[in-house]
């Protein structure tokens, strides 16, 4: 028998606005309108400032560890905006490097600061906003995204509810793509034909581990193709490319009930988190090269070329960003401290006796679960024989 090719695959890589602000008219036509590009540039600038302030808050002891989004704003902007525009009400299942996608879809900006300040209420998402809390275990949340997508489909097919074009999008990193959970999530989404989008921000590093040590594969997206899923790579620092691939993925999900994997190629310009110092393990030349690919710079250049932006507008925007963020910080820091009852509430839908007992004894001198143990030295066993 002659050998035959069992399977062959090609994966597209999409770039529309490159680092020199060259715009590909043929791919870019019908993507973002001028006013939308301006809007996203403004949003990216605001979250960049937000990021810098968050960093300073941590350094001055006013916040816990914070993972900067710096350099990756375009991936969140393009994808988040496509969701907001074409599939509002969709579920967003985040990790921690796509703040702007969450803000664009209704998450109040102080929530993320509150979260990293160590306040659980940062995860209390307002009603009507379909965003899950930030997931700290790496890569475990895309499974929840598959479950939500399953629910979208089930509600229509079994419960006969009207379905809009909502989809579920999960965000995770290149490192997360090594976790088994992510692979199980992809397999389920593909096998069960779910309206899910997997958005992997390949920022080339997982803390200090470079992509070359993380995986032997050329791309991240090819992993998804192995599950029979459509996959595409995009320039993650290009709002137009990110918008386009996400919009296509929304269509594939809501029209055809098929998942898509998007690999956004980007770079973490900052440290992994405020607890890290990336200078210890990254070549400064590599970092510098990526600074030149900064999404804010190329988007601004593009807008300037089209006469959509000016130095005055920039000054005004920076002032606005400063004012906005300082108000957000005030809101986050101004919230009253939680009361100790909050430790117990939310453990169960209805608090069981044993938790109520613990809550009550917390306000006494009891050492344990037993209210009669108020003090250990007073031997007060009333009914003891």
């Amino acid at each position: 028998m002659p050998k035959r090719i069992a399977y062959k695959i090609e994966i597209e890589s999409i770039s529309i606005l490159d680092e020199h602000a060259n715009f590909d008219e043929s791919l870019g036509a019908g993507t973002l309108r001028d006013d939308e590009a301006v809007f996203l540039y403004e949003q990216m600038t605001i979250v960049r400032h937000y990021d810098e302030i968050a960093f300073k808050l941590q350094r001055s002891g006013r916040m816990g560890t914070y993972p900067q989004n710096k350099g990756q704003e375009a991936a969140a902007a393009g994808a988040g905006f496509a969701i907001k525009k074409h599939a509002p009400g969709s579920w967003l299942v985040p990790c921690y490097r796509e703040n702007l996608a969450l803000f664009l879809n209704g998450l109040p900006m102080e929530k993320i600061l509150l979260h990293w300040m160590g306040d659980e209420r940062g995860n209390q998402i307002p009603d009507g906003v379909n965003i899950l809390p930030i997931s700290i275990p790496i890569g475990t949340h895309p499974l929840h995204a598959s479950g939500l997508a399953w629910s979208l489909k089930y509600r229509e097919r079994v419960m006969k509810e009207a379905r809009d074009n909502s989809v579920v999008i999960s965000f995770f990193g290149d490192g997360a793509s090594s976790e088994g959970d992510v692979h199980e999530a992809m397999n389920f989404a593909s096998a069960l034909k779910l309206p899910a989008i997997f958005l992997c921000q390949n920022n080339r590093w997982a803390i200090s581990v470079p992509i070359s040590k993380q995986m032997g594969s050329e791309t991240v997206v090819q992993k998804a193709c192995a599950y029979g899923m459509h996959g595409v790579q995009a320039d993650g620092n290009d709002i137009f490319a990110m918008y386009k691939v996400t919009r296509d993925a929304i269509e594939r999900a809501s029209n055809d009930m098929k998942p898509t994997f998007i690999e956004a190629v980007t770079y973490r310009l900052g440290d992994h988190t405020t607890a890290d110092d990336a200078r210890r393990y990254r070549d400064p030349k590599e970092v510098e090269a990526w600074f030149n690919k900064d999404p804010l710079i190329r988007t601004r250049k593009y807008l300037e070329k089209k006469n959509l932006w000016s130095a005055d507008k920039q000054t005004a925007l920076e002032a606005k960003a400063k004012e906005m963020v300082s108000q957000i910080v005030k809101n986050a820091e101004g919230i009253a401290k939680p009361t100790s009852d909050d430790i117990f509430d939310y453990t169960f839908a209805t608090l069981p006796d044993e938790i109520i007992r613990q809550r009550d004894t917390m306000h006494t001198h009891s050492l344990g679960q037993n209210p009669s143990q108020e003090t250990l030295n007073a031997h007060t066993h009333a009914g003891a024989r």
Partner: protein, 339 residues
Amino acid sequence: MSAVMDAVGALPPRTGDRVIQFREALREAMSEEMRNDERIFLLGEEVAQYKGAYKVSEGMLEEFGPKRIIDTPISENGFAGLAIGAAMYGLKPIVEFMSWSFSLVAADQILNNAPKMLYMSGGQWGCPAVFRGNDGAGGQLGSTHSWCVEALYANVPGLKMAIPSCPYDAKGLLVTAIRDPDPVFFLESERMLGDKAHVPEEQYAIPFGQAYKHREGDACTLVSFGRPVNFCLEAADELATDGIEVDVLDMRTIRPLDIDSIIESVKKTNRIVIVDQSWPFAGIASEVMAQVCERCFDWLDHPPVRVTTDDVPTPYSKVLEQAYLPNAGKIVKAVKGAL
């Protein structure tokens, strides 16, 4: 709450002549709830076409169709996580693990996600999912396949855990589990699935956190949960021939744990023997013992006694496995020793 000896409130009588298997009782609980609530679906390995590895879901694919009875890939962590996501968006999944032993590969989803979702979202998104499957030594399945997960898992706040010992409780507790808004871990036993007893046809829900007193006596309090409750009853029969009458308390749920009923009984008998089919170190028996010591130390006339397995991996050999597990003989000895 006080342990009940007879039907309370709306619960139907425990005795009668509608004798069915434990597995059928489980199936009745699921099917009837599914008929009434289309948010409920069952997923797991082999649950549809094959009717479940242990035939618990026989006939359910025919009745509810493949959209609600779902054969999954072999991916415990995967379908556990999928269920959590689905539960967060308004569905009520029942996840069948072929064995709880295989849930260990799903540990992050079931322990680190399901029980914490409500808490971490400040009360926003709960996880009304039921995870069920066989727990404990199934009979020569070897140490990796004979897990009792109760001690390990019950340590985590935010989840509930039910462990029936008989078909009547299996049905009533599973109904409650399915209706519960929080994640419930439901522990069955392969060794009991064929057990037969009267099970009422109607749907009934046994409240969680309420022990059942199978037998009344004042010589000693005998406490257990799940399969070894049956060994306790055997032991109680044997003890009765020597004129020793014991209270036999079946906890039915480990979380919540009806410690009040245990305390009440100990205050009467002044002795307690706790039977646990798992390891002795930091087990559920240890927890019961700790709470008894905290709350009624002065009523005890003898140190609390535990009957557990030996502190070794579950042996594969039949004779060794039998020697390792609790049984009626060991319980009789323990009670006599505590008198």
